[in-house]
Symmetry: D2
Subunit: 344 residues, 4 copies
């Protein structure tokens, strides 16, 4: 089969011919890939930024946003059958640790992360994964429609789902960053709450798109964004601020836009949160960490996708053209769309 | 009546003769003071540190930790009667705003703060307050036993109560700072959970006292405290870290001692929280703000006090000797005890 | 002023001339009534069914679903001003008891219930109420649009809001009864969740209306309703069943339609819940009681109304024609609409 | 090996010689039994009461409360190692269904129940189970100390843990039934809350034992129990009532003892809950179902046991004397103690 393999950092991956993986363990699931999303994390991996985090052994197959059809299953697999359409949770988890047992499987103490930690990923004709990673899809959904939701979309969903209990009618929620994650975050907010959604971005066009998918207000981040958000929220700031950027000042803005007794969700990264403890205690504001979602979060996000409440703009490339897609992403030629690789 | 009045910053308060306040409004409650706690905040007020925060008009009567007996009530007061023993919530709240209506009355948009914001406080023979500030006490409790719980103790209770749902059996909770607040925090943790309590303090004697009131482990903050806490928690850190210090490095330690998916509670203040967003998102840790507790929190803390589960060491001074108490507190001559002023 | 007064049970109320009430206490609010909803409870009061519950002293003015404009306020009223458009929470609460302090003010131990317990209600030109009962409205809302949401709508909102945390995407919620409360319940479910809403009613036309306002499925209660709900939920029943009927078998159906680990919400009344304890424990299902909502619930419902997410069909009558409205309601001549009385 | 096998209903089980089970699958765990609890459910199985529920194929080995030492593990087992002391969750769950993924594994759609559903249980020298059922014990705990907590104790723990958030200081919790489950429930309540515990039982001696382990009040169920509970709770009833009996009138009493806005937990069974819907809605009381606890609940209960906060009185019998133990249990000769079978 064909697979997009990273052999060396700072050198483009190559599309190699490899033997197909086979089911051997009782919980193995072999998936014929229908689509694999390309994500900015893939660029970071290629640049070696993940080396100190996961120490992957090279070469390995990239691709951590995968969907396809079940080709074969091990003897103990009861949740999917051959022929099922599936999306793959990015982590393969143990099912035995406290976190897995508590429904917090993204904190599993013994997980693998195909396409990232050296385990072969899904930019290939086939991917071998485990029963605990496959979510069966509604027949109305195709792999190419949803693959790019498997990681970035899931992260946005997880953060919004945690925030929703504080977003009763009459509240406001600020979304900083109307890019890939923010786009999903806005749609999930509209599907799960009646909060007023205020989107902040440097790009006025991105704000127009945000309004088309449901944002109530768009604020250009031109230096006046904190004042504008305060004005839109009666002077107080928002009950929840979802910072999908996490760097270049957004992480400072987010805190300032958060109302007394409210919460600033950190989702994007790169910058640093710096807050005097007196500000934290005198207003009882929180800073909430966010990681990728759980398996059940992914199943819920797929339920929203099947209802048409969450959609993505994607641009398909043949698997063999992986480097074209990487070039386009790297060169900023994919505004508002996610590249997906389609095996032939 | 006698009252301890602040006339000028950086000049000791004087004990003045004043007319007794009178009930005039329907929700007014006049309290004969049984005891008023002296707190480090009183020193900060005297030094002018609260001037930019609350702009109090001088002179006014100090005292924000008050308990006593109801002397007179307005026509609409139904929750207490003349003769009742009461402790006073530090804020007088409006009962009309969203926060008051939601049980978050410490965020009331129209509250006053006697003894701090220029409203006359309780270092006096009598204090005029409102029905929404008075908590009726169990007959077993005396004002002198509980007055010093009204603000510092209430803050510690509020933080612990928020943390307890995460502190199921098998978890650990770190308490940084075995002083006045930490002392109460430890007792409340033991009353409301079966978590393992690890106390961190620079002072080995304070750790011995902490163990006497229930702490499971004491760790001297001598530079090895992060390693020691990691060791006591299987290498992972604690599910909850309650930082009652909030400055001088404690606010850095607290984050490092917090486990993946755990929460760092900021209660003390003075320093600054500085954390790269990548650390926040990769481990999904939270930073939780904490302010003084609600009225209902104070009622619950009084239930614990009546059960003998929360106790305080206090040193009584006559009201007239307020400046002796201030001298002793300022001079570090009250280790492990709270000064309380008793009207004659 | 004019007022609809009940003088004797089983005798129609009369429209009497009364002196206007005046503000006397500091928290009093005088409201010029814009609209007063007529509700089936008014018929029950007229028939004497509430006599054993609230022992009202006759005569008194009916009307417990009220909205209008503030005409005058007491000296301590800070949440509304003269001229504000307001809707009135049905209870006037004390603001002092544990329930009021915890945000559960509908359980207030010292409340009054104008129009029901002998306190004069809002079927009049003016109503005297208290600051804790008035919710200021968005300028886009008129009293006649929302008055009928003040009690029935509020009850539906309260139940749905409690249920929403269990209604993540992919779940189902059954609504039994597509009448006044169910109508609101459906709209609130759609506004606050992405759950699949299955409505059960005896009347096929009511189901059509339900679908127009957002219901995903309609099931005629013709004896096959339990089977049909099971079929629509993969054989398991729904995570939440909201029973707005509570009698005539609905209360039995509701339990049978509730899935393992799910909850049956009792909102309507008249019948009896009878369930063997073995069924309760072997499936861990819950039966959840529901009462009218809180003040904050009403404020949130008004936020939904201002967003156009909750609407009502109403039929206006002049205040003087109160008995025509009562006749129409009693005679079943108001299908799908609520009668409201409008002072001239 | 020896095993206590049920061959025919209403005929005593026999102690047979069987081949030892062997590890074959990758998640198999072979446990050398240290102790197996005998429970009233075993009598019900013997009498055929579970036949219609689980249709077990006879013969099979009894024993669903098991603890021992790991003897062998499959290739994929990472949570325990040979030699570990373990207690066994009563269910072997799939780890793949929504319930398992959400931390509600006791609702697993594909679980087995050794010793009950025809799968061989633990009244034997060895038991073959799965990695998802074994909880590793603190070295201070021995199988004989804890085996009897694996099912009954776990059920009590689960109910109390759900109830604790409502049991803040100042509340009351009624425990109906001071038998095996109630005994554990009382200890867990005292370990996890500061609520006032009121125990109701027909047997005054059982109440004395309850007080020794921490109950605050004992009420003899002699017909005056509802009045007595009301009196002890200021006339209102308790915030939570835990009914460990569920029959013979306890299920009626429980509802009557539950305060406005409170919850009646159904844990024992045999009777029927019958409540008019008007009572449910006018007071907003809940009826909460309870089943056995989760795997994580069992791990938490073991943490309490290791802290000495939950203890059991047990009476050991050699495995061969299983029928003596059954006779003693059936004949009421084990008051206040649980029989456990110890392989030689």
């Amino acid at each position: 089969m064909k697979a997009v393999r990273l052999h060396e950092y700072h050198t483009r991956p190559s599309v190699d011919e490899l033997p197909e993986p086979k089911v051997s363990g009782p919980l193995d699931v072999l998936v014929r890939i229908g689509a694999a999303g390309l994500c900015r994390t893939d660029l970071h991996i290629y640049e070696g930024q993940w080396e100190p985090l996961t120490h992957p052994q090279l070469p390995f197959t990239l691709g951590h946003e995968n969907a396809g059809w079940v080709e074969d299953v091990g003897s103990a697999v009861s949740n999917v059958a051959v022929g099922d359409t599936v999306i793959l949770h990015p982590h393969i988890t143990c099912g035995l640790c406290r976190y897995c047992r508590a429904g917090d499987d993204m904190h599993c103490v013994a997980s693998s992360f195909p396409g990232v930690d050296g385990t072969d990923g899904g930019m290939a004709d086939y991917l071998l994964t485990g029963a605990r990673a496959v979510v069966k899809l509604d027949p109305s959904l195709q792999p190419a429609d949803v693959a790019a939701l498997a990681d970035a979309g899931l992260t946005a969903y997880h953060a919004v789902r945690k925030a929703v209990p504080a977003l009763y009618p009459g509240t406001s929620c600020v979304v900083i960053g109307a890019g890939g994650l923010g786009h999903i975050g806005i749609q999930v907010l509209k599907a799960l709450s009646a909060t007023t959604v205020i989107v902040v971005d440097r790009n006025p066009e991105a704000l127009e798109v945000a309004k088309e998918i449901g944002a109530d207000h768009g604020v250009v981040a031109d230096g006046s964004q904190i004042d504008k958000v305060k004005e839109l929220t009666g002077g107080d700031g928002a009950e929840v601020v979802l910072d999908f950027v996490g760097e270049m000042g957004a992480e400072k803005d987010a805190w300032q836009m958060t109302r007394r007794a409210g919460s600033h969700y950190v989702i994007g990264y790169g910058g640093k949160v710096e807050v005097p403890t007196i500000e934290i205690i005198s207003t009882e504001r929180n800073i909430i960490g966010n990681i990728v979602g759980t398996y059940n979060d992914l199943a819920e996000l797929m339920a929203l996708a099947a209802q048409g409440k969450v959609t993505l703009h994607t641009k398909p490339y043949p698997l063999e053209a992986a480097n074209d897609a990487i070039d386009d992403l790297d060169g900023g030629r994919l505004p508002g769309a996610r590249a997906i690789l389609i095996p032939s």
